[in-house]
Symmetry: C2
Subunit: 321 residues, 2 copies
């Protein structure tokens, strides 16, 4: 068995290669560029770890891992167009570096590439893996759609928000673990618990991401603090504040939201404090983290084999406040 | 066995339904809208006919047919964004009716839908079908990329052009026939000849489309005549004229190309006549049509079973000049 960090290193080395043909250059070079700008490769590594819980990593799992990473990058490539983001991991996005048409078509090719990787899986396992993968792929599109829909809505509930982040970011991590487990020989029972572990871990991670946008250490977070607040993004913190705030506090919050005051971030954080949002947010993240670990506990393998998945949860959720 | 026209009617009825869930509305409704605006469903019908050459239509083939039609519509949806086309079959395209982000994401969901249809094929045939499908899907993206690349080039050769239209439009028809044949129980020999029949038929059809843009009957063609010429589109007619024209004729052609004269179309058609482009184009189409039929002849089934595929070629290539 490998440690979490060993698998991160092994997978990064394996994946760091040219994935597409040389021609047509304007189709495939941007796809390879986008893959080369990195990322944590968390989904394929999760897939490999889930396989290793049950046995040696099979050839099938390496192919599934590549498919998951290609799919994830396809979604990022198209999301960057839809969100009009100029930078990804500090590098130019494809629609800025090349143009919008290239970002669309290279993304399409990357999605086809994900399916081409899946098709290297042995025939006896292929249909089962594709069923999980396709379901998840639809869900990720649905999550992106809800995220875009929410931009023009003012009545998004916390439940709706949680459902959106589950679809947009958590199910792909969950499905990575489930597929890796099944390809490693796991029972349905074990694979399903790993799915739930991944889903809840993914939700906790996304809640943390929203939290850090407000309360993070700017150097450790690597992004500007308060970006979501400035853009009035309906994160779970704002949704909670809007649900909680009453009377004068509510009026204040609404006034700050529509203001262009340069102290807007500090003022809204003050309202968050009045509503107890910070503590509530920390608690909510802990609830999802605990739920994730409770599913990991239920997986029927000897406790020592689970160490890498506990380390993985620590790694994802350790981020400094 | 069914006639070509019977299969067209049966498939249209089967396919004319809601393909996606009701929610999220802004993701799936545009996809169903786009599917509902019609089209000739030539690829799935070709797939069904190729199966019927060899035996009764299997459940697998119906699923493959749906996948091919969904894939074709996915490419149209994204191509309309890339080409900034406002109309498709006389109806608003999705990026105009909804918005660009919707066109991108609904197209993505449609591509995933194509793979979900393929995954209904029996496990024993799935990998073989996916291998052909994925290869073709990459090629269609490559064709679209070359088409876009050619817009900013002035030195496109006839061979490059033929390769572009082969990738962009012919290989999907070819692969539809090949997959249908294999799912109907055909040998590799027969399926390969049907692939070549479809590929050459597709090229002849596309050449005809370019030809009709210059020489068609406006009422029968259903589009404005000379649209390609007005936009200086590098069709095979213009490429041939640029390759052939010498001296004074060449200078005249270049001058007309850069002019905004309202008689531009007539003047360029005059140059085409001087270069013998019309006759050459008719001959080239006939060459590809003959090549297609020569491959159909080589398919080893009794001659009477092939009638529907001869009718299909007649239907595609019968269009009035």
């Amino acid at each position: 068995m490998h440690s979490f960090q060993q698998l991160v290193n092994i997978y990064a080395q394996k994946f760091n290669r040219q994935h597409f043909p040389a021609e047509p250059f304007n189709l495939y070079e941007p796809a390879d560029y986008f893959l080369s700008i990195g990322g944590k490769r968390m989904r394929p590594v999760a897939c490999l770890m889930a396989n290793e819980l049950f046995g040696d990593i099979s050839e099938n799992t390496w192919h599934a891992a590549d498919a998951l990473e290609l799919f994830h990058n396809f979604t990022l490539l198209h999301d960057d167009v839809m969100d009009n983001s100029a930078l990804r991991r500090g590098k130019q996005t494809v629609h800025v570096r090349n143009n919008m048409n290239t970002a669309i078509l290279s993304g399409d090719a990357m999605l086809i590439g994900a399916y081409a990787s899946l098709n290297k899986i042995e025939a006896s396992c292929l249909q089962q893996v594709l069923t999980i993968f396709n379901k998840t792929a639809f869900e990720v599109c649905e999550g992106q759609q809800y995220d875009m829909d929410f931009e023009s809505r003012t009545d998004v509930s916390l439940d709706e928000y949680l459902r959106m982040i589950t679809l947009k970011t958590s199910v792909l991590l969950a499905c990575s673990l489930q597929i890796g487990a099944l390809l490693g020989g796991a029972s349905k029972y074990n694979a399903d618990h790993l799915y739930e572990y991944g889903k809840n871990l993914g939700i906790a991670f996304q809640l943390q991401d929203d939290y850090l946008d407000c309360y993070g250490n700017v150097e450790k977070f690597g992004k500007e603090i308060g970006g979501d607040i400035k853009r009035n993004k309906k994160t779970f913190l704002l949704i909670k504040a809007l649900e909680t705030a009453e009377g004068e506090t509510r009026e204040k919050l609404k006034a700050h939201l529509s203001s262009k005051d340069e102290n807007k971030v500090a003022k809204i954080l003050d309202v968050f404090d009045e509503c107890g949002v910070k503590q509530w947010a920390e608690d909510l993240k802990k609830q999802y983290a605990a739920k994730a670990l409770s599913h990991l506990e239920k997986v029927v393998v000897t406790a020592d084999r689970k160490k890498q998945l506990y380390d993985f949860a620590d790694y994802l959720l350790q981020r400094d406040y």
